[in-house]
């Protein structure tokens, strides 16, 4: 990137974040975002993945000009988030984690309202929201407060899109939404990418991370890793085994006693295990000695969650 000149950079890069830091509290004692840097390319679906309280929302609020950073800088569409906040407000779409449209206005009125605020009309950009809007259109005279969770998310996405933003910020758009609607929602995001809209999305769900082009794993305000989901998984250094027995509770209690064990944690109906040395058959023997029965081991391909847990533990 360094070799490109600034105009080309502006064309290729949607969001650029450099050492962004945010603290809260009187004495700045709560470090919410700790010198975070990343770039989002134009038309990219970029995910911020991390547990609750990792600092995702603080990053979003700074990038959408709702919050001033303590230090560091960031640009959205080449506009500085502090100096050029007006321009940014013209070009970005933001969907906060909490549903925050007018509950006493109908679907159609909310949409019309946000279109007009941006000096445009629903008709002008209808093609952007058509796929999503048709799903809620039959309720368009219903007040937003009376919609189901999934429909609210769809309406919020429509309202964030109606002014044809160049960058879309979605803060935990699928939290509290049923699995079917979640899947639908991510498919909608993929379709939006084709419209050349850059999307920055945050989620606490690991399974959604693989839907992104690139992800940043965040914990405690710091980026632990930033790459494509495949590369992050591919960089997983150890061979991973899944272990099961008739008594999972005893299994999880017994595993730490095995001296060659490197990492172990419950993962669905299995326990995931990696070794410093030795292999799975040695472990099976050890577990049998300890009186466990019905032991089953197999190698597994690590997924993004394994990668994330690995990073948290190291």
């Amino acid at each position: 990137m360094a070799s490109l000149n600034s105009t080309e950079q502006q064309r290729g890069i949607s969001v650029s974040v450099q050492n962004l830091t945010k603290t809260y509290g009187k004495n700045k004692e709560v470090l919410a975002v700790d010198s975070v840097s990343f770039e989002v390319k134009k038309g990219e679906l970029f995910g911020l993945i991390g547990p609750d309280g990792a600092g995702k929302t603080s990053i979003f609020r700074m990038l959408t000009t709702l919050l001033f950073p303590d230090s560091g800088s960031a640009t959205v569409d080449g506009f500085d988030i502090v100096k050029d906040y007006r321009q940014i407000r013209n070009t970005v779409g933001y969907m906060p984690g909490r549903f925050s449209l007018y509950q006493d206005l109908t679907i159609a009125e909310n949409l019309h309202f946000f279109a007009t605020l941006f000096g445009t009309t629903v008709e002008e950009n209808y093609h952007l929201i058509k796929d999503i809007y048709v799903q809620i259109e039959k309720f368009k005279t219903r007040r937003a407060g009376k919609l189901s969770g999934g429909m609210k998310q769809k309406l919020a996405l429509c309202c964030a899109l109606i002014h044809k933003p160049t960058v879309l910020f979605l803060d935990e758009p699928t939290t509290g939404v049923d699995p079917v609607s979640r899947k639908e929602f991510w498919e909608m995001l993929k379709r939006l990418k084709e419209q050349e809209i850059s999307i920055v999305v945050s989620t606490p769900y690991m399974d959604e991370a693989t839907m992104c082009d690139r992800i940043a794993l965040i914990q405690g305000g710091k980026i632990l890793s930033l790459d494509t989901p495949d590369n992050i998984i591919g960089a997983y250094p150890d061979t991973l085994f899944a272990v099961r027995s008739n008594n999972m509770y005893d299994l999880l209690r017994t595993l730490p006693q095995y001296e060659n064990i490197k990492a172990h944690y419950a993962f669905g109906e299995f326990a995931h295990v990696s070794f410093k040395s030795g292999n799975a058959s040695d472990l099976e023997k050890f577990l049998k000695q300890k009186g466990l029965s019905g032991i089953e081991t197999k190698t597994v391909v690590p997924n993004i969650e394994d990668a994330f847990i690995k990073m948290l533990q190291s």
Binding site: T65, S100, F114, T116
Partner: protein, 371 residues
Amino acid sequence: MKTILFLIQKEFRQIFRDKAILVITFVVPTIQFLLLPFAANYEVKNVNLSVVDHDRSDMSQELISKVTGSGYFKLVSYDESYDQAYKNIESDASDVVLEIPKGFEKNLIKEDHEELFVAVNAINGSKAGLGSSYLLQIISNYNNDIRVETGSSSGNVAPQIDVASSNWFNIHMNYKLYFVPGILALLVTLVGGFQTALNIVKEKEIGTIEQINVTPIKKHHFIIAKLLPFWVLANVVFTVGLFLAWLVYGITSEGNVFVMYTFIALYLFVALGFGLLVSTFCETQQQAMLIMFFFMLIFILLGGLFTPIDSMPAWAKTVSRFNPMRYLVEVMRMVMLKGSSLHNILPHFAIVLGLGIFLNGWAVLNYRKTN
């Protein structure tokens, strides 16, 4: 301008969609307006009187019948002794005791001098104060009558000044005439200030203000669009109030109604600004409600609506100088009862304008800082 109109349209749509708000805005003030002036009455009638008449003469009988005939007093007991009458006060059966000593008639005629004893139950301060002053007035009238009667024979009438008073601008001392404009002022403040604060805080509470803040909409557009609907509503409430004052209480304005509307227009600038200021300090409607309630009580009690400002201690007078409602109450009474013109209330205009600039300026500065 187009944006503001559009935002205002949205505000009105939301206001008219919320049935509870509509009821609170129009029905509740109307009911208050119809009930409060009847209930809040300064006139003291039916003061319970106990009489202890040790003299039982013609003159003492005459005095008692004058007192009971005045219409203010109700004779509840005719007691043998003061102790007995005092028991009535203790049991709250009577408010005032009038004790006439033995030899009242004889001393009055022979020595031209006699003393009466009046005891008042002061638990209800205003009833006690007014009751005893009524009683003293009746006794002194009676005293004069006797002096005239007896004086002609003895020939030593003391020269005296007779004061004839007349109640200007409210000839019959009709309390409703005094109260109705005041309560109208209160209602206008309620609709203007309270609802503005709650409405803005509601946007914060629901989170819509965040969504608004990431749009290109300008802050002052948003604020104006928030204030203007309540400015209009308060004017409507005021108009309804004026109509009811005429219909129910038969009160019409002595002065030009447009003078009042002009002042209300400016006054609402203050009330709305105050609501806006409170909203910048609050995160929830509950907080806004309680803060507004606190200030509302101060505005009402130190506004000269119920008790005259002139009789307040110095510190309260100072506070009331910064109380916008005081000026509205004054102007309403001046225009409605006295017929004051724009020229007469210019000082009020100046002060309220100053308060408005101060409150709105502070509110806007604070609004910028917090959002």
